[in-house]
């Protein structure tokens, strides 16, 4: 790709501004769906944009006892990670901007970057709630990451490649949700764990630890972390749709499939109560890993049998 094309891809479309706007719109759709399921009206369409504008306009207060540089730059690192991850997935139904062999693993790590940054940011302060929230964030990272990665690697296994564009091409037209249903379920629920959506929102449980690791953040830092979360939502949904729901060919199909997945996520959010952190870890390590390994056994067995 030429330099100008790369710059456009990174700053405007399909990365950068388009992605930020898409993230905020998806957040609004999620809140509206959850509200409808709770028999109330949700916020109006501009609410997430207004929230971001307001946060950027506020003063950033750096608490005493925290490392100033880390405090200011960790949110930037988190957002940069997910924005970079978006370049390797077929965003908005367009072909990927960059690809190389093994970029699935790199993308998975880039998607975990905001979680690591939140964990570090929480440990950076002396606030009790931040420390507890950071501990919980990192504990949750260690619990859902293995099943989530295994579920993303399932389609990689059948496609015979570790490159997202090749997996997406292979999965396009083949609905892997039918042949790997357990993997699909784990991928979707793992995405909810990554984004700390209910029932996995113990790290930012409002009634226990105020705002978890982000308690001391206000203004720009909070806005950047929030944007990182919503961009991760879009990228995660794109990945799951591209791998399991028969690929995303064209922007209309992209919107349709990702909104469908978002509907399922919103339904699960509304239906389930919050899990305690020890219950989350127990759930993932007892059922999540076993199911993921089971799914892998099935895939490997099938490959061996048909080879």
């Amino acid at each position: 790709m030429s330099g100008l094309q790369s710059l456009t891809a990174f700053l405007f479309f399909p990365g950068g501004l388009f992605l930020l706007a898409a993230g905020l719109i998806y957040e609004w759709v999620d809140r509206k769906l959850v509200a409808q399921l709770q028999n109330r009206i949700g916020p109006r369409w501009f609410q997430p944009f207004a929230d971001m504008l307001k946060l950027f306009a506020k003063e950033e207060v750096v608490p005493d006892g925290s490392h100033h540089g880390l405090f200011v730059w960790l949110p930037v690192a988190g957002l940069a990670g997910v924005l970079a991850a978006a370049l390797y997935v077929p965003m908005a139904g367009f072909p990927v901007s960059y690809h190389f062999a093994g970029d699935l693993i790199v993308t998975a790590y880039l998607l975990s970057l905001p979680t690591l940054c939140i964990g570090l940011a929480g440990s950076n302060t002396r606030d009790r709630f931040s420390l507890i929230g950071a501990t919980r964030t990192l504990t949750q990272l260690f619990s859902y990451e293995v099943p989530f990665l295994l579920s993303l690697l399932g389609p990689a296994l059948v496609a015979g490649s570790w490159e997202i564009s090749q997996i997406a091409d292979y999965a396009g037209g083949r609905w892997l949700v039918l042949t790997q249903p357990i993997g699909f379920v784990l991928a979707l629920i793992g995405l909810m764990g990554k984004l700390e959506l209910p029932p996995f929102d113990a790290p930012e449980a409002e009634t226990e630890v105020v705002a978890g690791a982000l308690t001391e953040y206000s203004g720009r830092g909070l806005a950047l972390f929030h944007l990182a979360k919503v961009v991760a939502l879009v990228v995660g949904l794109t990945l799951v749709a591209a791998f399991y729901l028969g690929g995303v060919q064209g922007i209309l199909v992209f919107i349709l499939k990702t909104i469908l997945l978002l509907g399922v996520v919103a339904g699960l959010q509304a239906l389930l109560a919050r899990l305690r952190i020890d219950q989350t870890v127990g759930l993932w390590w007892r059922y999540g890993v076993i199911l993921a390994l089971l799914q892998w056994l099935v895939i490997i067995g099938w490959e061996v049998v048909t080879a």
Partner: protein, 141 residues
Amino acid sequence: MRIGAMLGDVLRSLVRAPVTELYPFERHPAPEHLRGQVVWNPEKCTGCGLCAMDCPALAIELTVVDKAAKKFIFHYHVDRCTFCAQCRVSCRQGCIELSSTIWELAALGRESYALEYGNVADAETLLAGGAVDNPATPAPS
């Protein structure tokens, strides 16, 4: 023991309209006995002052214009009122009512919260300095 015991509610809400009332675009009528703003009728007032004495918020002041001829001015502080209706109960003559239509009382300043009820003629007498038997109220300026 099931996962998601509220599934029925959640699915039904998908097809139902939300219960939120879009006030002020949708306004449901207030119930008949709503305790809104106090309204005073000067006709039967005997000037006993029980309403002012029993008000827990000191929202009522009664100014005597002419005690013998039963002419009074009723000062009502809307911002102090708790809408408890004790004044309505204390008044043995039935002069006081709580409106069920005037209840949207939000305002941007305190000026609209000092109400005076009474006959215009009585107010003019008071302002002209013609109050009779009126020790409590300071001389009008």
